[in-house]
């Protein structure tokens, strides 16, 4: 991969305990299942540059995902570890791939960086949500490999 890390000294948190929320189990709604399931799917994605999960690096948290079940819309907001993170688009790709089969096909997924968390927020958000660019990026073998490393090393 790259020789010089973009962020050599990230702040690392403890891995959070897996949550099984007894109150939510009673609700038993599609919304809740989707939300909890999707959070559990993405929290362990490995950061492109460090051997820690996106949750451990505070890139993602339980508050990162909002679901509007009625409209069929999902919004994921993540916080890159530094303002000039060029890995933001890779993280976005990882999120989309990991969540691909998680929601019904008509659901729309929007991914954004948390407001104020990136120097080129508007430009990054635009790229994170251009469907054609995302598809083309995933057809690029080098990028695909990087994404696969982030997704599947977390399963080891």
């Amino acid at each position: 991969m790259t020789l010089g890390l973009i962020n050599a000294n990230p702040i690392v948190r403890e891995k959070k305990e897996r949550i099984t929320r007894p109150d939510l189990q009673f609700l038993f709604s599609v919304y809740t299942n989707l939300l909890v399931r999707s959070i559990n799917i993405v929290r362990d994605i490995r950061d492109p540059e460090h051997p820690y999960s996106l949750e451990q690096l505070s890139v993602l948290s339980e508050e990162s995902i909002t679901v509007d079940e009625k409209l069929g819309r999902i919004l994921i907001t993540f916080t890159p570890t530094i303002q000039h993170c060029s890995m933001a688009t890779v993280i976005g790709l990882c999120l989309r791939v990991k969540l691909k089969d998680c929601f019904p096909p008509h659901f729309k997924v929007d991914i954004k960086v948390a407001p104020g968390s990136h120097a080129d927020e508007e430009a990054v958000n635009k790229q994170l949500n251009d469907k054609e660019r995302i598809v083309a990026a995933m057809e690029n073998p080098n990028l695909r490999q990087l994404v696969d490393e982030c997704l599947y090393s977390s399963e080891l």
Binding site: P105, D130, K131, E132, R133, V135, A136, E139
Partner: protein, 352 residues
């Protein structure tokens, strides 16, 4: 042409074409078919790296069968396809950075030429009205113009730079050799050949400062007379532009386009495709899985034309719609292509 009333129209699903194994990105009706006893032919291109040719079973039936699958040529998504005006050749643009030219040979299609040159994904291809020129555009920010020569030779005559980002679509004007491109840089550019120097150059840029779009412009389409153009965008609006057609057709390359109308508030997700029918109906295909039809409103102010929503077909597909194309032969058929891997044929009818 009957007077269209907003409540009196319906869009009925005629057929659903299945076969592609990935999202369908683009559609093109063969302009030499669909009338005078010739069954209509439709081409579709997909993320499954193939192009499918669909043919109307008979001139009187509205059923289409898959006549051919063009495969083993592109090794990445085929993003766009376009028939030559004669209907004899099909150009296909791919993320593999090439454009292939196909011709029917007996019962099958063969690739007779491959256009290379773009540095990365080719997004769109378009033939001019006479079929003498081809244009392609790419994420490499360039627009290429190719001359069509005998023996399936295609010579690049110009590489046009100017867009600052990924170019999403190119489209030739329906009557004059003026080229239009739209881009991720939020602008539409107009390119024409300078009479003196025979060089192609950008003669106009439609940007936010001249009432242009504020996000990626995905597609553009002309009305039948070529004096109006409609564009659609990630900014959730469609815009209508006009030009002095007499000036344009007389060869004045500086005849400029001006903003006439913006339709906002009708779409809440990216509009990927817009197409103007010969009868004057504008169809849009969007990322909310719906097809919308717009027509000119009778009550327009002195400022210019205004448009109204004629019909909204929600859940036209199960996923995003990437392309909508009216059949060129006035039979009020509309084809739509979607991320759900299917193509649908619709018929627009009056309810009465």
């Amino acid at each position: 042409m009957p007077l269209l009333e907003e409540e009196a129209l319906k869009l009925s699903e005629v057929q659903r074409l299945e076969g592609h194994t990935d999202r369908v990105w683009g559609l093109a009706w063969n302009p030499a078919t669909g009338a005078d006893g010739v069954p209509a032919i439709l081409a579709s291109c997909s993320g499954d790296k193939t192009v499918r040719i669909w043919q109307q079973r008979s001139p009187s039936s509205i059923s289409f069968d898959c006549k051919a699958v063009l495969e083993d040529r592109h090794d990445r998504t085929v993003r766009s396809c376009a028939w030559s005006p004669s209907g004899k050749q099909l150009a296909t643009a791919s993320f593999d950075a090439t454009t292939a030219i196909w011709e029917e040979n007996g019962s099958d299609f063969e690739c007779v030429s491959t256009l290379e040159g773009h540095e990365n994904e080719v997004k769109s291809v378009s033939w001019n009205a006479s079929g003498s020129l081809l244009a392609t555009c790419s994420r490499d920010k360039c627009v290429w113009i190719w001359e069509v020569l005998p023996g399936n030779e295609f010579d690049c005559v110009s590489v046009l730079t100017g867009h600052t980002q990924d170019v999403k679509m190119v489209q030739w004007h329906p009557t004059v050799d003026v080229l239009f491109s739209c881009s991720y840089d939020n602008t539409i550019k107009v390119w024409a050949e300078d009479g003196d120097s025979d060089d192609w150059r950008c003669v106009q840029t439609l940007s936010e400062s001249n009432s242009g779009h504020t996000s990626t412009v995905w597609a553009l389409s002309f009305n039948v007379t070529g004096d109006n153009m409609v564009t659609c965008s990630d900014d959730l609006t469609i815009k209508v532009w006009g030009v002095d057609i007499i000036r344009l057709q007389s060869g004045d390359i500086n005849a400029s386009w001006c903003h006439l109308c913006t339709m906002s508030g009708y779409h809440d997700r990216t509009i990927f495709s817009v197409h103007w029918s010969r009868e004057g109906i504008i169809a849009t295909g969007a990322a909310d899985d719906a097809i919308r039809l717009f027509g000119e409103s009778e009550d327009h102010s002195a400022d210019g034309p205004s448009y109204k929503l004629l019909l909204k077909k929600e859940k036209a597909h199960a996923m995003d719609i990437n392309s909508v194309q009216w059949s060129p032969t006035g039979n009020m058929l509309l084809a739509s292509a979607s991320d759900d891997g299917t193509i649908k044929i619709w018929k627009l009818e009056s309810m009465q």
